[in-house]
Symmetry: C2
Subunit: 420 residues, 2 copies
């Protein structure tokens, strides 16, 4: 088995901007600072951002999940150190990894809020350069690079997509719902330059859960379990926007990945799309020509899952050529360091051909990722990678809790903690 | 085949309050009035409510769906006339029907907003009396009665549940998310008197889509298709509230129906519940003893669908003893008047035992509904009922459009149209 994950997370190291910004902006870079209570926070544009690792709890006991971690010391070094990351990947038998940003938020909301847009642009470029050179660069064949957009300007984003494609990057992280961030919605032609650039460069638009900065808060007293249960399937609304927007009908080659959306609900959803089309197109005016919305969905949308046996069982109701696998290291939903064993359970009875598509071939094709240029196939398998990680410690280690406030059990606590 | 629908809709006739209110409140009853433009509107408490039939478009061409109808004249008489309703049910081969309210909104929000709570209480009681006596009464064995709650007061609601159970009613329409209506959430013990009354009287709590007065509006320019595609699965959030709230663990016999929620997403959802429980219980503190959340869900939650082949195919991943069928007459998502033919398609290959459970036995058991006391079994089948409807006209008839504003194609138009 060969495992390629299209959803992991980089925790940015403190030195990431060093030497990457024009001199005039160097002192405006985000800075990781130690607070009096021992926690870390990024400071940027006069504000302090405390979610240094979002949810980077890999390797810690489940009792310590929550609003942890609060400092780099509380994380496995594999969260932010690329050499340690490779060891953690090897220990989990994962060959390739696409890493979403943490500090700038999923589609670079942090930089997009910067008033001086020249600064914002410099930050995104510096981030993307760091990502390609320092994060993905040292270990060729191990990473699928992912570019940050410049959400405030579609033309700039389009240019950045082209620049990044020139550096071998064929994925763009974007918002599941730009309207929720105050930008024009997916139903406008505002984003057409971005979609055109993605088509021209064979770049996949990745829409990760949380990339609209919205959380599922059903009530202020809803326990955190409600949010965790519901958050992946929030991408169902994004998927509905995508399909009823003109974008797929206008851009034949456009592909969107529903990152961390899960797949078990997709067969229900595509069936519902066709039902809605049949019952309502006469008055809503939707027109897919001689095709069905489910067909358009299955052609354009790349589906992504961590651990979703029902989805795998129903794979014939999805496009099995577009199903991709996720590890989600180092977040709490991750299957690390037992991903192969977990996958083995839900892949029972699946044909070798489908297993290969789901675990790595689809990801390789969609993201222009060819690890075998750099790595011999026998070294790329779960067994081959784990052989390289002998002795690497993946035991669960307690870090304790630094602040009492870090234990949040209501969904609304998380909203408060991540809003500043 | 015998069809019992647990989700249809009554359109209230203008005379429904006649003789049902204490004399001092008689002139405060909602009144159906004809506006200058020919449309109908209910007036109540000094406000005008224009959604006279919500979405009662049965029998009209699909081109005329939308914010129609705008008057009783635009509807089939079966929407509001009980004798005509029976004919429409017969023509569709439907034996039994549970009808949700239209004018008062799904859980009686209209009455609950009344400042004078004595008036509000009188209105709910009058509505429930009308529902049992005038709507369900004339045709014994054809309806599963459904009570409106008094959302502003759990004790009053509990008393009403008990009163209605005495009249043979074992279903209560409730809000999928009371917190969204300004009441305490499902995570509090505020509603315990209601749950206790429902357990004592073997009454099912029905949570219909839309009963939180919230619509899926992803952006102001999102086309209506987005809302229609997403609205059923909004009950996934309700389901998450239900399972992580203490209510099922506190009230062993409590049952909740997810009305018009669909079933195709349920296997994904229950799998996700167990995943969240496994990954997060150590820090969120959830405790289901020796059970899994999926087991508790499958025991307590009654699932409901209109046309959901994927859900039927995956029925072994649901509790097949709790799956129920819906016709949704006279709304635009309904399969009327071809429900048996539509059902025939997705029931291919399903055992007779499962078909019987899904089409009528589960509904009969859960709602204390025994039509065969009143109706011979051979007259209750699709064929038997249709034989009684020979000559009843179910052809599609155009009614035109009364107002240009009635054609809304954006989800946000619907929000505006239904908000007053």
């Amino acid at each position: 088995m060969i495992l390629v994950s299209v959803d992991d997370h980089a925790i940015e190291p403190p030195d990431m901007f060093e030497g990457r910004l024009p001199a005039k902006y160097a002192d405006r870079a985000p800075r990781l600072e130690r607070r009096d209570d021992g926690t870390h926070a990024w400071t940027y544009g006069g504000s302090e951002y405390r979610g240094v690792g979002l949810n980077a709890v890999a390797g810690r006991p489940k009792e310590e999940y929550g609003l942890e971690p609060t400092s780099l010391d509380d994380m496995r070094p594999g969260c932010y150190d690329i050499h340690e990351r490779i060891k953690d990947m090897n220990a989990n038998g994962v060959l390739g990894s696409m890493c979403f940003p943490s500090m700038p938020q999923f589609c670079g909301q942090l930089f997009a809020r910067t008033e001086d847009k020249d600064v914002a642009k410099a930050m995104v470029e510096a981030y993307n350069d760091w990502h390609v050179e320092s994060w993905c660069g040292p270990y060729p064949g191990r990473f699928l690079p992912l570019a940050l957009p410049m959400m405030w300007d579609p033309e700039l984003t389009a240019a950045e997509v082209r620049r990044m494609a020139g550096l071998g990057c064929h994925a763009l992280t974007f918002s599941e719902n730009p309207a929720a961030l105050g930008y024009p919605s997916l139903h406008t032609d505002h984003w057409d330059p971005v979609w055109a650039a993605c088509c021209d460069t064979d770049t996949v638009v990745c829409m990760h859960i949380g990339s609209s900065s919205q959380l599922v808060i059903t009530s202020v007293d809803a326990p955190m379990d409600v949010l965790i249960s519901c958050q992946p399937v929030t991408l169902l609304q994004c998927a509905a926007d995508l399909i009823w927007s003109p974008m797929f009908r206008k851009f034949d080659d456009l592909r969107v990945a529903l990152s961390e959306g899960g797949i078990g609900w997709i067969p229900y959803f595509t069936e519902r799309l066709d039902y809605v089309y049949d019952h309502h197109r006469a008055w809503t005016g939707q027109d897919f020509g001689d095709r069905l919305p489910s067909e358009v969905f299955n052609e354009h949308v790349i589906t992504c899952f961590i651990d979703d046996p029902i989805g795998v069982e129903n794979r014939d109701h999805l496009n099995v050529d577009n199903i991709t696998w996720e590890c989600d290291y180092p977040h709490s939903d991750s299957t690390w360091p037992n991903s192969p064993e977990v996958a083995h359970r839900y892949l029972q009875g699946v044909s070798d051909e489908d297993i290969d598509k789901i675990t790595h071939l689809n990801a390789m094709r969609h993201f222009h990722y060819d690890p075998f240029v750099h790595i011999a196939r026998e070294d790329a398998t779960v067994a081959g990678l784990r052989a390289q990680a002998v002795g690497h410690d993946v035991r669960i280690v307690s870090k304790g809790r630094r602040t009492s406030g870090a234990r949040a059990t209501k969904a609304s606590d998380l909203a408060v903690a991540t809003s500043s």
